[in-house]
């Protein structure tokens, strides 16, 4: 199996560990990821608030570049995932918009025919590859690990992409299958505040605290997340909200691909786990263990 891959700007800078672990996991499962050549920034939420045609055109260049491969496109960053899906949806809905964007693209020798399906790696892992094939590649059991599965906003909303919008379960099931316990976690689709810690921190603190506290309350050993921005907010501002709300939390935040990679027998360097701020003792122990399961 093959997919095109759109890492996005975040995964090329601060969130390198997500990129590294994502590629490692797919490689371990025998899936080939082809990075789109010369992709550009998707425009994030900012271009959307300036002008529709420009925002869609910036995103559509990537879609046009991906279309040549005739494969599904994997976008691990939640924001890129939403923006690219949104570009597809807006163009399908409005022919004038679609034609105008294509007129702009044609001037630089590109064309987009609306055929690219934008997918999230979690969706591909659970629904395309499937539990049976993942199970065949599992080297270590995650038993004893209590995981809080945090999905964030933009891979489950606004449209129903591949999971329930209020109570998604695909990641819970994935880690249960790997032997871990997915704890009850009412904050799984709550908002982490996005860019608010940068522009209005006092509001963001409340949001971040709730997400962390709910995980601690249910005795989770770690939180796994699917979004680079959520990982940053929950990890980097954890100390700050601990001080503000006078509550010790100290919970590690992993990208879901890192924890999945551990189960697939990959080592710390393959998954760039050392780049995380807080490490889970239990997970470290599992990494150091010899493979216990028969292949």
């Amino acid at each position: 199996m093959e997919y095109t891959y759109y890492p996005g700007c975040s995964l090329h800078s601060v969130h390198k560990p997500y990129d590294i672990s994502c590629r490692a996991v797919f490689k371990a499962l025998g899936i080939n990821l082809i990075e789109i050549e010369d992709w550009n920034c998707c425009g994030a939420t900012f271009y959307m608030s300036i002008d529709e045609v420009t925002s869609i055109a910036v995103a559509a260049r990537n879609l046009a570049l991906a279309e040549k491969y005739n494969l599904d496109l994997i976008a691990p960053c939640s924001s890129c995932f939403t923006i690219l899906n949104k570009a597809n949806k807006f163009m399908k809905n409005n022919e004038t918009l679609f034609l105008s964007v294509n007129r702009v693209l044609r001037e630089v020798g590109l064309e987009y025919k609306l055929s690219v399906r934008v997918r999230h790696p979690l969706d591909v892992l659970v629904n395309d590859i499937g539990f049976e094939i993942i199970k065949l590649n599992v080297k270590k059991s995650l038993s004893g690990l209590r995981i809080a599965n945090y999905y964030g906003c933009q891979i489950v909303r606004p449209d129903k992409y591949f999971d329930d919008r209020e109570n998604p379960t695909s990641m819970d099931n994935l880690f249960e299958m790997l032997g871990a316990k997915s704890v009850y976690y009412p904050a799984k689709v709550k908002c982490c505040g996005g860019m608010l810690p940068t522009i209005k921190e006092e509001i963001a603190d409340d949001l971040i605290f709730e997400i962390l506290y709910r995980a601690k309350e249910n005795n989770a050993d770690l939180i796994v997340t699917t979004c680079p921005l959520c990982q940053m907010n929950l990890e980097a501002y954890q100390k700050k909200v601990e001080d503000k709300f006078k509550e010790k939390i100290n919970i590690p935040i992993y990208y879901f691909t890192q924890v999945l990679g551990v189960a697939l027998g990959l080592n710390e360097n393959d998954l760039a786990i050392n780049k995380n701020f807080i490490l889970s003792e239990k997970l470290e122990k599992i990494i150091k263990e010899e493979s216990t399961l028969e292949v």
Partner: protein, 217 residues
């Protein structure tokens, strides 16, 4: 300011203009016209993670729009606080695409040069877009540095411990190589801005009398 007296059911000139601008943007939003089906139930406000900090809540925004008070919405802080979590849009029983409508309101505010004084999202966006135009890709480290220098360097000191930690972990990079075809992307941006579709091109059927008020042109 001189008060403009109007008859019931009529909008003042400024509001009529804003309304027509608004409706021409809403045209792009799939099922954007659903805004007229709002039942004022407040599910959006109840679902919004930041409504507790808003000066006017999402439900009130639709109410103000109906009352012909778009100017008031644009002057609010609320539209800049929206973090695009799409909770309101997902839960709305009338399936109003509220988050997308928030984007429309932001566009309208930017077009009319109305910015929030306390929420610095405008400066962040400017920095972001300048970098995107220049390199085609973002570098979060450089973005943050430029943003902090632009807004409040003294307050930016609070990010130092975090930056140090990230640096030790090897997660910071101070180089933005950008994409290869920078010119291509720049021309896409430039050309697409030129074809910002003219308002007159769209004459949606629901434009008149859609929300109980007739706009005078």
């Amino acid at each position: 300011m001189q008060r403009e007296y109007i008859f019931p059911g009529q909008l003042i000139q400024r509001e009529a203009e804003l309304k027509s601008q608004f409706l021409s943007h809403v045209e792009f939003v799939p099922e954007g016209e659903r805004i007229k089906q709002c039942i004022q139930c407040g599910t959006c406000t109840g679902s919004c993670p930041v409504s507790f900090a808003m000066d006017i809540t999402p439900r009130e925004i639709i109410a103000l729009f109906r009352a012909g008070e778009i100017q008031k919405i644009l002057n609010s802080e609320a539209i800049w606080l929206c973090v695009s979590c799409y909770s309101c849009q997902t839960r709305c029983p009338q399936q109003i695409r509220l988050t997308d409508i928030f984007y429309v309101l932001k566009q309208l505010a930017i077009q009319n040069k109305i910015f929030s004084k306390t929420i610095k999202v405008h400066q962040l966006r400017e920095t972001f877009l300048t970098m995107l135009n220049e390199y085609g890709r973002l570098n979060e480290t450089l973005l943050m540095i430029k943003f902090i220098l632009k807004t409040n360097p003294l307050k930016g000191i609070r990010f130092l411990p975090l930056a140090t930690k990230l640096m030790i972990k090897g997660r910071l990079s101070f180089r933005n190589k950008g994409i290869k075809n920078k010119e291509v992307l720049r021309s896409i941006i430039k050309k697409s801005k030129e074809i910002s579709l003219p308002v007159e091109k769209f004459k949606p059927s629901y434009k008149e009398d859609a929300v109980g008020y007739k706009a005078i042109s």
